[in-house]
Amino acid sequence: MPKLPPGLSSKDFQEAIRQFEAAVGKQWVFTSDEDVALYRDSYSVFLGEPEEIVASAAVAPDTVEQVQKVMKIANTFKVAMFPISTGKNLGYGGSAPNLSGSVVLDLKRMNRVLEVDDKRHFALVEPGVSYFDLYRYVHERGLKVLLDLPDPGWGSPVGNSLDHGVGYSTGEMRDHFGSHCGMEVVLPNGELIRTGMGAVPNAKTWQDYRYGAGPYVDGMFSQSNFGVVTKMGFWLNPQPDAYLSGTVTVSKHQDLIPLVDTLNYLENSGITNGMPQLGSPVYGGPFAPPDPELGALIGKPGGATPAELEQYAARKGRAYWSCGLQFYGPEKVIAAQWEYAREKFSSIPGAKFEEGPSYKFPLTPDQIEKSHKVTVGVPDLSIFMIGARSPFNANPSHGHVWFSPIVPRTGQAILDAQKVFTDASRETGLPLLAGPAPLPSTYYKRAFIFIFGIMVSTDPAVNKRNREAFKRVIKIAAEKGLVEYRTPPAFQDDVVATYSFNNHSLLRFHEAIKDAIDPNGILAAGRYGIWPKGMRAKRA
């Protein structure tokens, strides 16, 4: 027996379901336990507990007009709705709503690639289009664009960008929301709007010029509950001639500071244009077998000093820090960029360089297999095999949630953040699985993001303990100015509470907008801390 949406009688819910069926077709409204269970969060931190947030039903429209009808029906009956694109936002909530009993508005059937232009380098897609779908469309037509992809690549460009997802290619395109251009949105009352030049009936520039005239409102529809995005444009990389990678290594602990400064100069100047990747070879890499000598150093009271680690690295012939660089562009140009990057990094005494793989586009299938696929624009799922059971790993991990703080792009900020999170992990007992010296995992062009995986257990007591510790770490980090950019529903109120300037004036502004455009509070209640008026007291 499914849950009911909050505040709805069984009779009204039945009637709403009947009207949803009339709007989208009976076979596209899902009410059986078996079907509704598919919208559970596969990585829920409430796994198997009564508090697990579950849907009551799902409705899957095929067209914008059907979305409008559904929203109007939902308003009539005050049915809580929760839109998803492809529902693959694992680690950040998956396809489950923030509010138990919500009806999932499943947009997967709206999976049309509407346009890809490889002369002006943009795409216009519906929310159910996955990165695989977009890649196939581009690949089959031989279009000369390079997709920027998250890893894994089974999500949708619309969903990923609306949750501020980040990719792996050039700085501008890695910011998936930042590289969007133009939206179509169904408002909570069912009204349809287009943003930017999409509001001009005869304009041919919807995917070229973002702003139109007047306020730029697109940001209101990301990580929010102000509308259902039904179309979205994205700028794309032109297919480059070539790709080149290289690695810089340095030998001293304090070298991290000039290493990051130089990286910033090069990336913000457009000299390196691919995603960087910082590493700490001193620790042997994430999959290195444990070294008793290193273990003893790290494990002693107070941990290893930088000098001890430098000596250890020297004995082992390892660098202390590394920085991977990637370049996309004409072969001659990127060779010159790599040469110039080496010249700049050479100001750090002892810096060493190693050239990595280079390719000409389009890559051969063999080259694709050997590459980190997402860096060359090919969607991939192999990330799910990291840590999976294999002949070499008989006891791997379960699902996880992400803890993802934003960190300034300086070497000192990284060192400070390492201390904050190492201390927080020790204080709370929360295992922040990122090794002894965590480094950025995701690289916005102007900010680092650390990403810690917190494992979901089949033991509710462990999950409960971890949830409490997670919330405590949010506060500890926020006291140091380190706050998350994205988080699962279980922690969205806590994270939003850390954005507290002037007595939470930003959240109060969001709430004022919510009250104005969704007075019945039917759309995605609670998403990123924005609750309808009647539910705010409960949150407080």
Binding site: I17, S42, L47, P379, S382, F384, S390, A394
Partner: protein, 163 residues
């Protein structure tokens, strides 16, 4: 033939092979699996595939990652409609396949652990009878090696008055 619920309740073991078309058989094979997927890194999976091949089934090897299998094979098949597939893989591989299959009108219909110390469980699944309770994986549980069947979803059309 017991249905899956009866099977689970009664603990009846039914061999996989009677459900499969035999090589050279001219009989229609309504219960056949379209593809059998096996993770060739594991000896038990290789034996499983060998049995399936001997029964005349198409087998596809993976090594954990299912990206190429999905993109170059399954997603194209599924564009034409849901299919029935079986496999022996890590649960991480199945997790990916199940998530993708459910979007195309299929459900995980059977899954059983493959333990190092015991024989591979027989698949007690009657592919011609989809009146089983489909499962979805909640929690990835990558540690497990599993034998499984994914098959077209039995459409549940709501009766009037039912929620």
């Amino acid at each position: 033939m017991p249905n899956r619920r009866e099977f689970l309740q009664g603990g009846i073991a039914v061999s996989l092979l009677p459900l499969l078309p035999r090589k050279g058989s001219s009989a229609a094979a309504p219960r056949a699996f379209d593809t059998v997927i096996f993770d060739q890194r594991f000896p038990k999976a290789r034996v499983f595939a060998q049995q399936a091949q001997e029964a005349g089934l198409d087998c596809v090897a993976i090594q954990g990652d299912i990206t190429n299998l999905y993109f170059h094979d399954l997603s194209l098949r599924w564009n034409r409609g849901p299919t029935t597939i079986a496999g022996l893989s890590t649960k991480a591989s199945l997790f990916c396949l199940e998530m993708l299959a459910r979007d195309r009108g299929m459900r995980l219909q059977y899954m059983a652990d493959v333990l190092d110390s015991e024989p591979v469980p027989d698949i007690p699944f009657d592919v011609g009878d989809h009146k089983t309770t489909a499962m979805c994986i909640v929690g990835e549980e990558r540690a497990r090696l599993v034998v499984w069947v994914i098959a077209p979803r039995e459409a549940h059309v709501r009766e009037e008055g039912e929620i």
